[in-house]
């Protein structure tokens, strides 16, 4: 089917959205033009406002419209503990667990020298100045369990050590309620190697 250049541009633009391919972009474009022009207008308005007003928190690099994000601006939070994550979605996931009451630091990526992503791009100088502020007692390294995520955590742990800040890594292993049968071999082999004693030896 020969689409007009404008329709082709629209389909290509919608494919910028994660998980959207040729079929879904057509479905989205047709849906908006056919049945929800008001919704399309809402997307335009809110997305424009978001691009203009949403930036990064000067302290933790989480999305925010103000100088400090809601978490950094919350005085009931423990400012002495910083949980380092790769993306804003990780912050949302940890917040939803409800267990953590410290601050965050969002790297917006992980060390990847081949892609030109070094400490500078991840805001590490900002994090390092926080390690040196005398308030930060511990950084919890919650980067992903990939080669680059581990390398990033290792690098940050050595920086923390230099500033006499405690560095911890989140636990990896079999998910709670997970059946061993369905757990992948890599996770299982880590779970066995990193086993912990159940009673004092």
């Amino acid at each position: 089917m020969a689409f007009t250049p404008l329709m082709q541009d629209l389909l290509a633009a919608l494919r910028c959205l994660p998980g959207v391919g040729p079929k879904s972009s057509q479905r989205m474009a047709f849906h908006l033009l056919e049945r929800n022009r008001e919704g399309a207008q809402r997307i335009i308005t809110t997305l424009s406002a978001a691009l203009e007003r949403i930036g990064l928190c000067s302290r933790c690099r989480m999305f925010t419209e103000t100088e400090l994000c809601t978490i950094c601006g919350d005085s009931r939070r423990d400012v002495g503990v910083v949980c380092v994550v790769e993306t804003p979605a990780d912050v949302v996931a940890i917040e939803e667990s409800g267990v953590y009451r410290g601050r965050y630091f969002v790297l917006m990526g992980r060390l990847s020298p081949l892609d030109g992503i070094g400490p500078e791009q991840l805001g590490v100088p900002v994090l390092e100045s926080q390690m040196a502020d005398g308030v930060t007692r511990e950084i919890i390294l919650a980067t992903s369990a990939t080669v680059e995520g581990e390398a990033t955590s290792g690098y940050l742990a050595s920086l923390a050590h230099g500033h006499r800040v405690r560095a911890t890594r989140i636990a990896h292993g079999v998910p709670m309620g997970g059946e061993l049968e369905y757990v992948d071999a890599g996770t299982l082999s880590h779970a066995i190697t990193a086993r912990t004693p159940m009673l004092a030896d």
Copy 2:
């Protein structure tokens, strides 16, 4: 996680897209803000242009930026045959099959009196004037095989009959290459009822 009102608005707006729920809207918003602000700008620009410039073809109600769509404007098409479909996506699907060389008429829905969708909303007066133009020989009813789709086709067939235009319905049955085992009972029962002779009786 307490999102700011603007972020909440953005997530709600993205949920206007078909198939996008709370999780995907967050994934899309974060992706655009974090990694693809240029793509977000493209969505804003092309979607605005599309809303402003894409309307419906005056003859067949397909999306178009001009008075007539590319299909209605194509002089190599057989203007005597009109395939009636429910949505622009149906036009794209039939065009991709490559077998059809007539025109289309897009209802943009189907008869649904309870939702206030009558012949007027589906552009039936326009279609009826085309049935009366002396050029149209046949209308192929390709509405969906649902109760409302069948009712719509039945209604249009009776109109066509009044104008001495031949009305046909696309064939329904077991998909080509389909294994009987995996075909649903409704399709199978129709396929048996609507069986056709293989050799002249």
